[in-house]
């Protein structure tokens, strides 16, 4: 089964490629290319696959999952300008896709262990736009 825990953080970012012209950046990224940046209230839903422990009845103690998410995601990301303060976004454009992949990389070593497997990372940039990432595997339900 898959259990899901949700966390939120607020951060600013700018989507532009320094090698491209102002016009090309505007064309590619629209308002998100505004050089001074802008912010979002990001919502992250993390799915963890595993079987319930026969004694505790839990896949993973949700307190422990919450601690991992806070330590690995919320603390480094919350109230930061991602491009300036949160590597790898000093050299990787902080699109929602790249944020989902970075969160996966941060969480995977802590969650894919003890018979459990990180299943999915969903990142909402706004309530109207979100990205699901399943690691290198093809998308599943």
């Amino acid at each position: 089964m898959v259990i899901t825990r949700k966390v939120e953080f607020s951060a600013s970012h700018v989507c532009r490629d320094p090698r491209l012209s102002e016009l090309e950046n505007r064309k590619l990224f629209g308002m998100a290319a505004n050089p001074h940046g802008h912010g979002h209230n990001y919502v992250v839903e993390v799915g963890l696959a595993g079987d319930p422990d026969p004694v505790t009845g839990m896949v993973l103690d949700l307190k422990e999952l919450k601690e991992v998410l806070n330590r690995e995601v919320v603390e480094p990301y919350d109230h930061r300008f991602l491009n300036y303060e949160v590597p790898p976004f000093d050299r990787v454009i902080p699109t929602t896709e790249n944020i989902a992949r970075d969160i996966w990389r941060r969480l995977e070593p802590h969650l894919s262990r003890g018979g459990r497997k990180l299943h999915s990372v969903r990142v909402y940039e706004t309530p109207d736009l979100y990205v699901d990432y399943f690691g290198d595997e093809t998308c599943s339900a």
Binding site: V131, Y133, C139
Partner: protein
């Protein structure tokens, strides 16, 4: 591989009524959805596309292009319309949310390459909520 989902809304009216059935059968089948003058909903449509992130932009889907195709194939056709009276697809097809979802998915799939001519991204599925409690999901590979 990423799945990118974008959420859209439109408001429209419809009436569930099958011409081949008697009034009594229609009332029994559809209940208040059969009331003669129709009624409306704020429909919420989520469109999901999947693909790898582009090496240059870091994006799997150009959401501006997605917005354009959804505007043309969905919002422009249905927004503030009476589905039974004003949408050709529902002249002979009852506009249940199942059929509306199938029409949205069919139309996006048929015109997908105009917006996204490359191999990626691919249309994966659409999800339509007639109300927050009634939700219908259709995968693109279910549609011809």
């Amino acid at each position: 591989m990423f799945r990118v989902t974008r959420r859209y809304e439109f408001a429209a009216s419809h009436r569930l009524h099958v011409a081949g059935l008697s009034d009594e059968e229609n009332r029994r089948l559809y209940g208040k959805c059969n009331h003669p003058y129709g009624h409306g909903h704020n429909y919420v449509v989520e469109v999901s596309a999947r693909g790898p992130a582009d090496g240059a932009t870091g994006r799997a889907v150009d959401t501006a292009l997605l917005d354009e195709i959804v505007a043309r194939q969905v919002l422009d056709r249905f927004e503030h319309r009476n589905l039974n009276a004003e949408v050709e697809a529902f002249e002979r097809v009852v506009p249940t949310s199942e059929n509306l979802g199938v029409e949205i998915c069919r139309s996006l799939k048929a015109h997908w390459k105009e917006a996204f001519p490359g191999e990626w991204p691919k249309l994966e599925k659409i999800r339509i909520a007639e109300t927050p409690r009634n939700i219908f999901e259709i995968r693109a590979d279910e549609i011809e």
